[in-house]
Symmetry: C2
């Protein structure tokens, strides 16, 4: 294998790192539907959003026309500590599968947060600092976002308050300690520190919390403390904007070696990684310049694209955030607890939802035992222990490569390897011990949460 022209890892030079983020909304003729004020059902304004978010981030959130937005030097300097990230040719996986397909993966796990989340965390921390804020608040479930935000805040010397779902706080003490090492204050949610937390604790004594409840506490903490704002790690259009750095680097690395991607695959929870990875490719499709098969992969246990409805819904279980039009299972949908990983969001980024509705991208759902089977195969030959989330993309990449084996096609398959699984060994242990099971919600389950959604006729 030593003589291959394409190296195992395609690293761009630092000078080739994107200087601007790409805003895919600018190339969409039909734009994603606007966020609505849940009280008035009118589109949210920058002023309204600025009470919760930093002003510059609120502007990015609503900007659907500017194609390229400069990445500030301070953010690029931070990016340089772990970017450009490698685009890896999966020679060993190809050999193992005996496929004529060429498989590439963009590896975003090469940083201490263990995932792509850092790309947006550092941007959000930067704008908070620039606005002169004291700190930011957020929630975290699996812990990747909280870790990324802790790192970013530590770098810019901002206070960081993380509300961590109580069950994760207790079951994932290592995640918690990484955040503390970076100086964050980590509070198990529901806590006694917020009004909503006290209320929930009184109503449901002994509850182990939920992401929706943690969001509500983080938003309350942001709006009741002077000099604080709330930040969010996925779903929002600003986050997809920042994550476009993934796709821009991927495209640049492919172009450098004259490789034309055929199939692009990403896992989809809230849509931040997928949206970032595919943005420049979707842009080419939208402008009629090129064609790609783009596949969003979601867990069969939480199938918002493949089995949800496209409608306005709350972004959070606590119903404190604006309404977004998206593919959703209903904000009251709670995925089975037996499912590992961070793809347990009831909805989907409005950008990804609109691209899916316009048939620019497709979607597929996979079951978790087959996901871990793919993860194990990948780890053993490619040497990287993938996060359960990322492994959803691996599953479909392997499936597509095996199809090529049947047809003989030499497709170029590109997928996003969003992160590493070092903090997910409880799930791996279940798989190793053959104690993992699958869960697929019934039509009745989905009907129940979908029918409880707000009725917004827009």
């Amino acid at each position: 294998m030593s003589e291959n022209k394409i190296p195992y890892k395609i690293y761009l030079e630092e000078s080739e790192m994107p200087k601007q983020w790409y805003n895919v909304r600018s190339d969409m003729k039909k734009k994603p539907a606007p966020l609505l004020n849940p009280g008035t059902l009118e589109p949210m304004t920058v002023d309204e959003l600025s009470g919760v978010f930093c002003r510059e981030l609120a502007m990015q959130e609503l900007d659907d026309t500017t194609a390229y937005i400069d990445i500030p030097d301070e953010i690029r300097d931070f990016y340089k500590m772990y970017r450009p990230s490698p685009l890896v040719r999966a020679y060993c996986l190809e050999k193992k599968l005996d496929t004529p397909a060429h498989i590439y993966y963009k590896f975003e796990g090469n940083n201490t947060s263990g995932s792509h989340k850092l790309n947006s965390a550092i941007a959000q921390a930067y704008y908070a600092k620039k606005q002169g804020l004291k700190g930011v608040t957020t929630e975290t479930g699996a812990g990747q976002w909280g870790t990324a935000l802790s790192m970013a805040c530590s770098y810019f010397d901002l206070d960081c308050q993380v509300y961590m779902v109580k069950v994760s706080y207790e079951q994932k003490p290592f995640r918690r300690e990484v955040m503390r090492t970076y100086g964050a204050k980590v509070t198990p949610s529901p806590s006694m520190e917020t009004e909503i937390g006290r209320k929930i604790n009184a109503e449901f004594p002994g509850t182990t919390g939920s992401l929706g409840c943690a969001i509500s506490e983080a938003v309350e903490a942001a709006t009741t403390q002077e000099g604080y704002r709330y930040v969010l790690g996925s779903v929002l259009s600003q986050v997809l904007l920042h994550q476009s750095v993934i796709g821009l680097e991927t495209k640049a690395a492919l172009d450098k070696y004259g490789i034309k991607a055929d199939t692009i695959i990403g896992c989809a929870g809230g849509g931040s990684n997928l949206g970032g990875l595919i943005s420049p490719f979707a842009g080419e499709i939208l402008r009629g310049e090129n064609n790609y098969e783009i596949i969003a992969v979601e867990p069969a246990s939480c199938p918002s694209l493949t089995r949800g409805v496209y409608a306005y819904d709350f972004c959070d279980t606590g119903k404190v955030c604006p309404l977004a039009k998206m593919y959703t299972l209903g904000s009251g949908f709670i995925p089975s607890a037996n499912h590992a990983g961070g793809l347990r969001y009831h909805g989907m980024s409005s950008i990804v939802s609109e691209l899916y509705d316009q048939k620019i991208i497709t979607a597929r759902s996979v079951e978790q035992t087959s996901v871990f089977e793919a993860a194990e195969t990948f780890a053993r030959v490619e040497g990287i222990l993938p996060a359960p989330e990322s492994s959803h993309a691996i599953r479909v990449a392997i499936d597509e490569a095996l199809k090529c084996k049947e047809t003989g096609e030499e497709k170029n398959i590109v997928f996003g390897l969003t992160g590493t699984g070092y903090f997910d060994m409880v799930a791996y242990q279940k798989y190793n011990d053959r104690e993992m099971s699958d869960y697929i919600p019934t039509d009745e389950d989905l009907q129940k949460s979908i029918s409880a959604m707000p009725k917004v006729d827009k």
Copy 2:
């Protein structure tokens, strides 16, 4: 900072990756003392070593004259999945310390084993496979070596049997599960599967094991099963040979940008990372071509170089391995359990010991609270969560950079960042909660274990 000529991360091209390992013994006029057969006190022969080790590795172990040894293509192909590793300019740490020094670190944590151990694991697995063996056995304490070997064996489809010190097996279930994910059989030691294990369990019911005991079990398992050999992750000269890839890449990256290192710093447990990092630099000193200040950093709790004696001793607590001349605290020395990390070895590689005795390198010991303080400082500005072992080198790099701040010297300081601390969060938690303490053995402690050493007049 954007305009710096030297990038944050200096990546070599795959084509610039070393094609040969460098054997520093070839440039030593006075060679490291030979391994002795503990029965006859005569130098071990290749034939004798081949009963325990693969034959080609036994030859490498005893070869102190060949300067360069080809790295087989199969090993280079594996290296390409995570090498060349970056040499990082620590711009943010320099700024934080406000030092005129230029600080560089060679980062070896960019792989799933989380450390440099993989460099030798893949070589040892390769030679085992080439010899037609069924599998290998080893012991692991903290788990980095066991993880690396599991990955290497999985790649070459070799059986891998890891005896893991029982207390680690129970306290570090995640490490255990990573190994299992790579297909290794992990057995808590002492086990009931070996004669020595059964004996120890009978003698000390409820014992939580020790590295010495795990070595004895692994050696027994290797020598009593057809087609198995024992492999070891540090101390041995063959391991330092494989690890020279670290130093060769570091040198090549510095040369590429015309940087002359002044001070080179590495942590030292058994000596594998330090020996690998410094080999080409020590070679230049030995050949009279150049001069460097080389500092080995060891924990104050286990100070083999700074407070040990230079004499023949057993390499293992179980006294089943050959005798090696080295700086040692006595094979009966057991470092305080309160000390975190994997630098708890009573002795030191015979190559590093001899270089230290010849004053080619110096040594320094540091206390663990100051090590974790350095780790936290580093993590917060450089974004990588370092392993406790690696953080010993960070501590001294920071100390040296602060000296430069006083003197105004623009020294080039290079240190080895051997790995990440994702599986060491229990130690970080102790530090975060201010519950970490230091331990320095008394002269009486050391005298006791040193006086119990074998008396070998060579």
